[in-house]
Symmetry: C2
Subunit: 295 residues, 2 copies
């Protein structure tokens, strides 16, 4: 495995995902300089103050100038604009990767914004990590320790560039896996995007009840756990839901059908049917998490 | 406040809820003898071994004989049978209470099974506490510490009996509040029963996907928290859903309408609408749990 060395990292988007990768690479001592850009000046200054970046840039174009690695960690809907703004200054041997939760829309945005010679420099990736907190203050160096990062390399990518992205994520402590772009978007719609939608919807459904204050007062621990992800960043999740709606809408329909099935079992007082449905869910859930529940 | 003293507690149902109340009262030194009944002999013996009860009984009738307090902690659908089996041996001054998650169906069952002189001895209650574990081994003395117990006294209850149930729960460390029976069932449908249904449904929806193994492999922390309650006891939840279906089916419809609304926003690519829906949910969730998130 080649030793990782980054002369200049351009960080576009200075929140939890980008900031944490920068801190991880800095603490591993593999990066020379980190130049950062975010739309808000206050965010750039805060990121510098926190040591996420060494130097703020005034534009995407300025940030990527002279960088050998560009990491895009903005909300996914903003990535098209980011790609468009780097075409003039991107070095021909620079490697681009990203942290977007949706891959199809991001690849399409790169291909629409850049000439092929440049979008081939983009190796799409998705770290499966995060907390419900966001922004530069949420970043920490060990966010990726033991977490999975899914790379969705394009057929047009240079294999040595793909290997380099892998090595970089390993330095940050992550476990790297590969998927195709469409498969990634399907799997993530199920495991991440749908649960977020279900949690946002549940909180809003209860908030619209006349008895909302009382209802929330009596909410027990289960509700708290269940809805933690509803505290996630709204703009980020709007972007994800829109960017992956081709996968997410059918996945939501699949969930709606399941809930309709439970509704029918209740309506017909089908005691055995309900018990079986709940027992199946418990068996799946227990099998999934039993090995991990010991630590 | 009168000092609590229980000469003989009859515990019907020897799982987490009943066993934990017994351990709490025993450790407070306020109970003389605990006689326990559960349908399974093995459960009775295990409960005795664990010290949840001092003596097993072979029937409900035998367990309640000579008891001044009867605590029913079986699944709610079994409570009708329990009431019917105690009419011959219940002492006229005995106090009955329960731990059922649904109150309307349990009150109706008591009124159907017992003469009025007896069901007036029943002060319905619901401790808002629990874990996803069940059975006698899950019981522990501090389960109710700082947790809410909702009593739903009947107009026919003797106020001194209501006060006695309150005092008993306070000995166990709980905070006692009152609601009417229908209001309890409405509020709990929202805060507890619907979230369980949503979690069971989500796990089953994903388990039915062709890619189920891969899907679960990539499930992140949010999914794990979100679905923890899907590990709850299936028979208990079947009972709750059926016993409270008059409240739960409309509450589920309310949730389905909310999810359909999110679906429409995605279909029409309504970026502002989606962001607003997610921001509302985040604001509600953050306001709810911010005070507690510091510990």
């Amino acid at each position: 495995m080649t030793a990782v060395r980054i002369e200049r990292l351009a960080l576009i988007g200075l929140g939890l995902i980008g900031g944490s990768l920068s801190l991880a690479l800095k603490s591993a001592g593999v990066v020379g300089e980190v130049v950062g850009y975010s739309r808000q000046l206050a965010t750039r200054l805060r990121a510098q103050e926190l040591g996420l970046i060494d130097r703020p840039a005034d534009s995407v174009a300025e940030a990527v100038q002279g960088a050998d690695l560009v990491f895009i960690a903005t909300p996914v809907q903003a990535m098209g604009g980011v790609f468009a703004q780097m075409i003039e200054t991107l070095a021909p041997d620079a490697l681009i990767t990203d942290g977007g939760s949706v891959k199809g829309a991001v690849v399409a945005a790169a291909q629409a914004a850049m000439p092929e010679g440049q979008w081939r420099q983009f190796v799409p990736g998705h770290p499966i990590a995060g907390t419900e907190h966001s922004g530069p203050d949420a970043a920490f160096a060990t966010l990726y320790h033991g977490q999975r990062v899914i790379l969705t390399p394009l057929p047009e990518n240079d294999p040595t560039q793909v290997a380099r992205v892998e090595a970089i994520w390993r330095v940050a402590g992550a476990v790297v896996e590969h998927m195709t772009v469409p498969h990634h978007d399907h799997v993530l719609a199920a495991t991440s995007h749908l649960p977020h939608l279900a949690a946002f919807g549940l909180v809003n459904a209860l908030a619209r009840l006349e008895e909302r204050y009382e209802v929330f007062r009596y909410a027990a621990g289960g509700f708290r756990d269940f809805t933690r992800i509803a505290s996630s960043d709204p703009a980020m999740w709007r972007d994800i839901c829109l960017a992956n709606r081709a996968e997410l809408v059918p996945m939501l329909d699949h969930y709606l059908a399941e809930l309709q099935g439970l509704r029918r079992l209740m309506e017909s007082a089908d005691s055995d049917g309900l018990a079986q449905a709940f027992a199946e869910a418990k068996a799946v859930r227990d099998a999934l998490y039993r090995p991990q529940s010991t630590h």
